[in-house]
Symmetry: C2
Subunit: 244 residues, 2 copies
DNA sequence: CGCCAGGTTGATTTCGCTCAAGCAATGTGG
DNA sequence: CCACATTGCTTGAGCGAAATCAACCTGGCG
């Protein structure tokens, strides 16, 4: 048989295991019922797109399991990864609100479960319940801050320092950390996407990884990474600054 | 005598000349009155800060005249300009919503008039009128898109191409354009800030400018710029792409 | 077996940063 | 009115980081 991309019926948001971490947690009563009525859950395999840039918006998505990447691509096909999305996050609210096409693509990095919510339902709730809009607003401002932080980093830090930052972040999210300051991780991304996250080419990333291994700071074997001393790794980037 | 930084009393938002371009345009009746009650207008001279990174948020701001720059600075003092703000725009809503300190600084580039709105007033309106929150949400998503666009550009385009983009944008906003495709502008920023907008050093920008002059694409004399053929300038960046 | 995608490595060159000096305009105090 | 500091901008030399082009390796798969 093998895997079939299963489409589930209407799950009930009230009993969803991530409900209290979502933007919808502020809803009650009729709004909550209306939400559940507009929801369909579906599984996505790695590499599969939830939506792609250029498509018209068809509603909003909410992640209930897995990990997704939000990519932006230019006319020449260069792609950067602008965000990693995890369970509880809302996707596609931007194009939903601006009423146009998706400007980014959302792609599963692991087998993921994503709920689709009908436009009508969201629009109706947004129109009379200020709380939901404020939740979205909070999400948007946090993402904006993340983007500004990335802009600052990309113009002040070296590629090497940015990659170390990224690695530390992925270790926190996806990794297993030992009590001795070590950590292991199965990377959810291939080298190209990893390079896209720090705004460089995959060849350059390959060299950076080679250097980190030579210095004994980390072991890479395909997507498996082992870091003996996370503190030493992070010390690297502090030491990048002038010893003033 | 000379100029004194004048603080005006409470202007009436309903009669403000930019009112219909602001986020507040959706307010009516009592909300509008409450807004006007919470407002103070004040003039800022070039270089003066409306708020600075690290300060606690004390309310939000609305620009009624001039031009401001939103800067983000890191620990080493490197600064980038993340946004140019014009009349009608709302400032400081991010830290206001997240309840913390300002993560960016807002600085006048021209003599500017900015209204301050008391936190209480905004919080009260946001709590019961969904429309205002949705306006803010729209603003946040547009800024987010702008930030993502900048991230993509900074990792795919050369400094030269980014500067040409910026120049074209400033020409649209601040410049006078002739019917023959020419354009003139008095730059609202010094070289350092200009460099900060494209994520490079001022020396590098200076060289880029020198090259553009040598190629006859633009004339720079201090902050005065004249472009003979905007089309040719923009053609440059299209031509940067491989002639495939 | 050949093909292909993902990854590594090498050689070369371009780009932009750093450090440093120089220059013009402006302001300041004696 | 002159010596002097200050600020904003430009220029030069040298260097290092990273992009580019290209070859090559590896494991999976029809």
């Amino acid at each position: 048989m093998g895997r079939e991309p299963c489409i589930f019926g209407q799950p009930d948001c009230r009993s969803c295991h991530v409900f209290k971490h979502t933007d919808w947690q502020v809803l009650e009563g009729a709004d909550l019922a209306a939400l559940s009525d507009g929801v369909t859950r579906r599984e996505y395999q790695p590499g599969e797109a939830v939506y792609s840039a250029g498509e018209p918006n068809r509603g909003i998505y909410c992640i209930s399991g897995g990990a997704l990447g939000i990519k932006k691509t230019d006319a020449e096909g260069n792609a950067i990864l602008v965000h990693l999305a995890y369970p509880g996050e809302t996707l596609g609210y931007r194009s939903f609100l601006q009423g146009g096409e998706h400007k980014t693509s959302a792609e599963a990095f692991e087998p993921s479960f994503v709920c689709h919510i009908k436009s009508d339902a969201v629009r109706r709730i947004l129109g009379h319940n200020p709380k939901l809009g404020l939740q979205f607003l909070g999400r948007a401002t946090r993402e904006l801050e993340e983007a500004h932080e990335a802009m600052l980093q990309s113009s002040t830090l070296s590629n090497r320092a940015r990659f170390i930052h990224l690695l530390a972040l992925l270790l926190r999210r996806h990794g297993r950390r030992g009590p001795d300051g070590s950590g292991s991780i199965h990377l959810p991304l291939n080298r190209r996407d990893l390079a896209g996250m720090i705004g460089t080419r995959h060849e350059t990333l390959s060299r950076i990884i080679g250097r980190l291994e030579a210095e004994g700071l980390a072991n890479f074997s395909g997507r498996e990474v082992h870091v003996a001393n996370i503190g030493a790794l992070l010390g690297e980037i502090g030491a990048d600054a002038p010893p003033c």
